[in-house]
């Protein structure tokens, strides 16, 4: 909690409005007073642009051993929005991921995975818009195929072009608060910082930066979706406890030994993390604090 206060102090020094949390003063045994807004946290919908989602888990479809397992895992996850990639038509492909989503009533979110330049990403986004009849895009512009880290310069350039072309742009970005701010400035509908590199399962390597991104985005009423790096349920819960509005993950579920069970775990973790964020955790203390009364002990 000391760290939390420091962030608030520094934010104000830097000219930001105090975060909502800053007004939640420590009161007695409790971390802070619970506000009406807090009480709603946990069952409020995820809002991105003009759409509302009951689930705060956005799933990816990559890495699944079969379309049947994928479909079962998507249902278990409770997701209402799920990404697909755009690739050249393969006449020998056994089935379509679009059918899996359509049969289960899950909305499709095309991505620009595999694009290295803004030019490529803008073309793929436009192809996806025509193919799938959606102006939403998860924008990915990566720098190389070893780290799969976003290329910040190409990413902002692509985001700017796509926003100007009428897209609702959800950019996959580094855990860099300033880059996130630039993406917000050019009109993105959310920011989606990585917890760790795609598919690494390393969790959230820089929770402090994620908090900074959340603080800035909250001022702009912009959702933050933790995208990439999640390996297991506790990490998804942490993302929500840090104040993220949602989590996007694929490999952690699709490459788990039991994808359906892991999808269920992720659904619970994200709900639990969101509730905990709204509930207001106790302050972190250096020393113990007894929960049983001191008075009335026997001699």
């Amino acid at each position: 909690m000391a760290e939390q206060s420091l962030i608030d102090h520094d934010r104000q020094a830097a000219g930001f409005a105090p975060r909502p949390e800053a007004s939640r003063a420590e009161t007695g045994d409790h971390a802070r007073a619970t506000t009406d807004a807090d009480r709603k946290v946990g069952d409020d919908p995820l809002v991105i642009a003009d759409r509302r989602f009951g689930s705060r888990l956005i799933m990816g479809t990559g890495g699944s051993p079969s379309l049947q397992v994928l479909g079962d895992a998507l249902v278990a996850s409770g997701t209402e929005l799920t990404t697909v990639a755009m690739r050249r038509v393969d006449p020998s492909a056994p089935g379509s991921v679009l059918d899996v989503l359509q049969e289960r009533g899950i909305a499709v979110l095309p991505n620009t995975a595999g694009c290295f330049t803004a030019t490529e990403a803008v073309l793929v986004a436009r192809l996806a818009r025509d193919a799938l009849e959606t102006n939403w895009v998860k924008l990915e512009v990566i720098a190389d195929d070893v780290t799969l880290l976003p290329d910040p310069l190409e990413l902002v350039e692509a985001a700017e072009q796509l926003v100007a072309d009428g897209f609702v742009v959800l950019p996959y970005t580094n855990d860099d608060p300033i880059l996130a701010r630039h993406l917000a400035d050019v009109g993105c509908a959310a920011v989606m910082p990585l917890g760790a590199p795609i598919g690494s399962g390393l969790g959230i390597r820089n929770p402090h930066n994620i908090e900074l991104i959340v603080a800035d985005a909250t001022d702009r009423n912009l959702p933050v979706i933790l995208d990439a790096g999640i390996g297991t349920a506790s990490e998804a819960a942490l993302a929500m406890e840090l104040g993220c509005s949602g989590v996007l993950l694929a490999s952690a579920v699709t490459r788990a030994h039991d994808p359906v069970r892991m999808a269920t775990a992720m659904r619970h973790a994200i709900e639990a993390g969101r509730l905990a964020y709204g509930a207001g955790r106790i302050p972190v203390r250096r020393y113990a604090r007894a929960s049983s009364p001191v008075e009335g002990r026997i001699d």
Partner: protein
Amino acid sequence: MIVRVNGTDTELAPGTTLADLVAQVAPGERGRGVATAVDGEVVRRDGRAGVVLVEGAKVEIVTAVQGG
């Protein structure tokens, strides 16, 4: 004439339209959820019949797959 279709040089009859090519590559139901680009520019689905392919054109025909 030779047209580059999804990265492969392909022999097509002169006068072949983009709509004709899509019907060959992604027939019937497979044509749903497909998008096309010629020489780096998206050709929307209602414009495909009006695009007559020419020698050396680069055509991309894409659809959604598992990913992300």
